[in-house]
Symmetry: C2
Subunit: 463 residues, 2 copies
């Protein structure tokens, strides 16, 4: 990198990091969840990290990088799982974690800078007006609000509010273009979808306006069942209780809990499947009566103010954290991301469960999906070979369960985002030289590739 | 009534009304929506009205009436439509509208005396902590919270929260028994269902604990369509937008709007079908983008603080108020209450619409029903004869659309409530002599009758 000294001069007093070990650290995320990505991305490393402190410094950073034609990969908390923020073609990591001001809290909405940690947004909204984000990834403490929008899709709360791609789950975004003279553009309404879950390939998100929900006193529960089938039917029936306020419904098949939930080992009977739950305190009585006709036993119950919740909130056993707990015990496992589409989601999930046995251990997340209850799956896979992993993926897809492949680092192969003409048009406008997170958007790099057979979580804006 | 003077002595300083005209007025509700009930209930009148001012006076009133074996029919705001609070066997009307204290507002819950008007509960919860009731009948201003629980079922907000019978939509009830020594019993959890929608036949509700939702700045909208089919498909698609916060989705077929919505006449194009909406302000932009691909035109839009909303909030054109507007213009019409079950609710509703034409004018209310989107219907019927009305009802039921008959005054014939052993057992305990609202529970008065062929909105507690 001959230009680094020139670039530094252009950046002036904007903090940068060039120490190789530190840059390496900031060039990574949880890509190692996937043995495939681990092999593919192991060597990825940026040339430097730029740490702007406000939007003006973001603009100055982008202007400088554009001048030097340096690729720029934006990073939030680094809690992605598919290399979303990993710089495939070196260049600069634009670390936005210093842009962490909460701009404004109103009834039903918050506006914050992109680098604000999700947990801090929740704390401030709670203190301001008893509100919190509608949903968040299990990486609440680590993830940033901009990173969630750029690289996430759903999470704890999706059982009530659906997923990020749903209208109304992001209210506004402010993005900076990568040009000679970078511009700030406010996107609202459907236009938000151009940039939502685009890994920062077509603009740098500097501010986010998100909807809020009441910050209930959530009670953490783990309910044990002797068989997974009953656990899933219970979870689905609970999801259909429209009057019962809940934030998490996570069925986990044996042996996941007993093998991998070390901190709760003493509470988990041999062979138990469990359902993790967050229920708002006023509805706990109603929940108990609902549970009473099911053969489930409460293995753990912690009120919102239980100090043990700070150390291990139940949501840190759910969503992508389930996989993390498994990897800590057994580094050879990996996972998949599945959609079991409604209305047959329960039968589909149980069919896959029975077919694969312990090779693919079922982990479901109940969600709202287009106005219906459905399941996402994040099953834990005993990894043997990449070929076998492909076989497992194919079997799911052949049986009507689309896979959002967490073993691929491009937007299209991940399968969540259909990149259509409007995305490409916006990328042409916002990043004419293709310097933002290069290598992540196949439609830009390899427009001749046909990936149209895929199911997409984020559907085309073209309908 | 020879005992009236004795009774008065027992009642002491508890206010009573014996003036015939005033007693007549308080012996009625909106039963005249139904030509059948109008004929059957026209002559119903109590002997007196008792107006206790607190729970102690309720207990004294019940003790006195029990001593004189006088039937007691409890009344709230008198906004029922099927004679719920009409005293079939004379006796006393127990008017609870002076029991109107709001006991406590907390996060997600309010506890109030039964006679508190729904609108006042909303105002106080709003002022206290930006909260409001999850849903309410269109008679928000007139109805009481106890009356809603005893005689209502769903309403404005049911598109998000489901209906009263759903777990968690009532958190607690305090009821007084009708005995020698009346007792106060607190019902919580599933036990609430014994008394919910029981017309005060098995206990006098004195306090209610209800769940709360955020009090959003609701925007009233009326969207016009050239054809009803498109209006219904639009309404259903909007209902499925999990991220878009809404409180009302009401499709109304032409010619309902142009014939009956006199105050808005100038805004309604000839032949227009409309959808009435309440959308929370932060999601209005998302709603506009959602609307943009539909051929619907916004005919009316009023922000939460628009002074014209005070005079005619949009919800006063919806639910049972639609029928009221029609009756004001054409006293010869009546209505039905229909369930179009999911997932075929749209097709079923359109099938009935096409079959009956203008004889049964479609009025739908989108709701959440067991975790799915569904439609209730309150079609306006051009009444000819009772036989024809029965035919219309039968046609709906033969085509898979259960009718909750608003032309019947018993719990069972209304079809909302299946009275099972647990209800009867509770009535035996709470009202051993059958003095509470006598004549409304067939299972008590005529246990030999078989009404089991009906579909019930409030299912059996026995599952």
């Amino acid at each position: 990198m001959a230009d680094i000294e020139d670039l530094k001069a252009d950046l002036g007093d904007i903090p940068i990091v060039t120490d190789r070990a530190k840059v390496q650290l900031k060039s990574r995320d949880f890509y190692w969840y996937s043995p495939v990505l681990k092999r593919q991305l192991e060597g990825v490393c940026a040339d430097l990290v730029v740490e702007p402190r406000d939007e003006a410094e973001v603009i100055r950073s982008l202007r400088a990088c554009f001048r030097h034609r340096l690729p720029v990969t934006v990073r939030g908390g680094g809690s992605g799982n598919y290399g979303q923020a990993m710089p495939l073609r070196r260049g600069a990591i634009l670390d936005l974690s210093r842009l962490d001001r909460i701009r404004e809290v109103g009834l039903g909405r918050v506006r914050a800078e992109a680098g604000a940690r999700l947990a801090r947004v929740d704390q401030l909204c709670q203190a301001d007006s008893g509100q919190e984000l509608r949903f968040h990834p299990s990486t609440l403490k680590m993830g940033t609000i901009g990173g969630f929008v750029a690289g996430g899709s759903s999470g704890v709360g999706s059982i009530t509010w659906g997923i990020l791609r749903d209208r109304g789950n992001i209210l506004g975004l402010r993005v900076i273009t990568m040009e000679d003279e970078p511009r700030a553009i406010e996107l609202r309404g459907d236009a938000i979808q151009k940039v939502n879950h685009a890994y920062g390939t077509n603009g740098v998100i500097t501010e986010v306006e998100m909807p809020l929900a009441p910050a209930h006193a959530w009670v953490d529960l783990m309910v044990g069942f002797e068989d997974f089938t009953t656990a899933v039917r219970f979870a689905d029936a609970l999801a259909r209780q429209d009057g019962l306020t809940k934030k998490l419904i996570t069925p986990l098949a044996a042996p996941i809990p007993e093998l991998y939930f070390r901190p709760l080992k003493s509470r988990i009977p041999d062979g138990a499947s469990v359902v993790l739950l967050m229920i708002a305190a006023p509805w706990l009585e109603a929940f108990r009566d609902f549970l009473s006709v099911w053969p489930g036993k409460i293995l753990l119950e912690r009120a919102a103010d239980d100090p043990r919740r700070k150390g291990l909130p139940i949501y840190e056993l759910s969503w992508n954290h389930t996989t993390l707990h498994a990897l800590r015990i057994d580094p050879s496992v990996t996972y998949l991301q599945v959609l079991y589409p409604p209305p047959a989601h329960v039968e589909l999930a149980l069919k896959m469960h029975r077919h694969f046995g312990d090779e693919v251990m079922s982990h479901l997340e109940l969600v709202r999906f287009d106005g219906q209850i459905a399941c996402f799956g994040l099953p834990i896979v005993r990894f043997t070979t990449e070929d076998r992993l492909d076989e497992i993926i194919r079997y799911h897809e052949d049986h009507g369960c689309p896979i959002f492949n967490p073993h691929a680092f491009t937007l299209e192969e991940g399968g969540m985002k259909r990149v259509d003409r409007s995305h490409l048009a916006f990328k042409r406008e916002a990043d004419p030289l293709g310097l933002l997170n290069p290598g992540k958007m196949l439609a830009w790099d390899s427009p001749e590739l046909d990936v149209s057979r895929q199911s997409y979580l984020y559907r085309s804006l073209e309908g």
